[in-house]
Amino acid sequence: EMKVIRIHPVSDPHTTYFLQISWQKDLGTGFEVVLSDGKAAWNGRVSKEEISKEAADMEMDLEKYVGELRKVLLFEGGHADTYNFHISKEGMNKDYLQFSYEKNLKDVSFRLGSLMLQEVSSPAEIISKLISHCLDCMAGLEAKNECLQRENETLLSDLNDIQGQLQKCVEAKEKLENELYQRFILVLNEKKAKIRSLNKSLKEAEEMVKKSNQAR
């Protein structure tokens, strides 16, 4: 894995540096550091042992310490200005540069780690690779964007379809209720008409019985 971030070291605030971190799977297993200002480039490596030692020195749980490294070196979780970088080229050996990174809390800051980076003899290749990596990330992000965009459109059209179906279902339910009542009323009223006519016939028959009995 690889990540490139832009940093402005406290010790050289007007210069933009690019920090490229590369690692296998888990940052805690060690990582390569490349630093460049667009002209020169320096690189170095932090091993797994050094990471564990650093965490032990700070009496910090290794997992937590690696979490801090992810925040400061990979910009993970947004980069509140709680992290600073220092670069110093004052060392004896001109080919080396000291690179350190620290976390500042309210009024105190403690160093999260530091390492010596060696100047690279052919920076062009390193810088070219760094730019290529950025372009590849952009291409990947653009592809992901397009895919999400398409997914969005599909979801939106599905949503519209379903809303249409729901609307239809509500209307169908009302229509069903009306139709059933209408049919029921017709069939029921037939029975009521029948009952009226039977009542009438029965009444007439009873009249006749009465009359007939009187006549007898």
Binding site: E179, L180, Q182, R183, F184, L186, V187, E190, K191, K194
Partner: protein
Amino acid sequence: SPETKEHFACVYDCYGDSYTVDTDMVQLKEVFSRMNNVG
């Protein structure tokens, strides 16, 4: 035949529902289904 017609008229209403035999879901659905464009 007129007799049959007469007989049916006594036993069924004009929608085909019996005056005297109890109905059930199936039969009532059948009667309703024959009653299209009720409005």
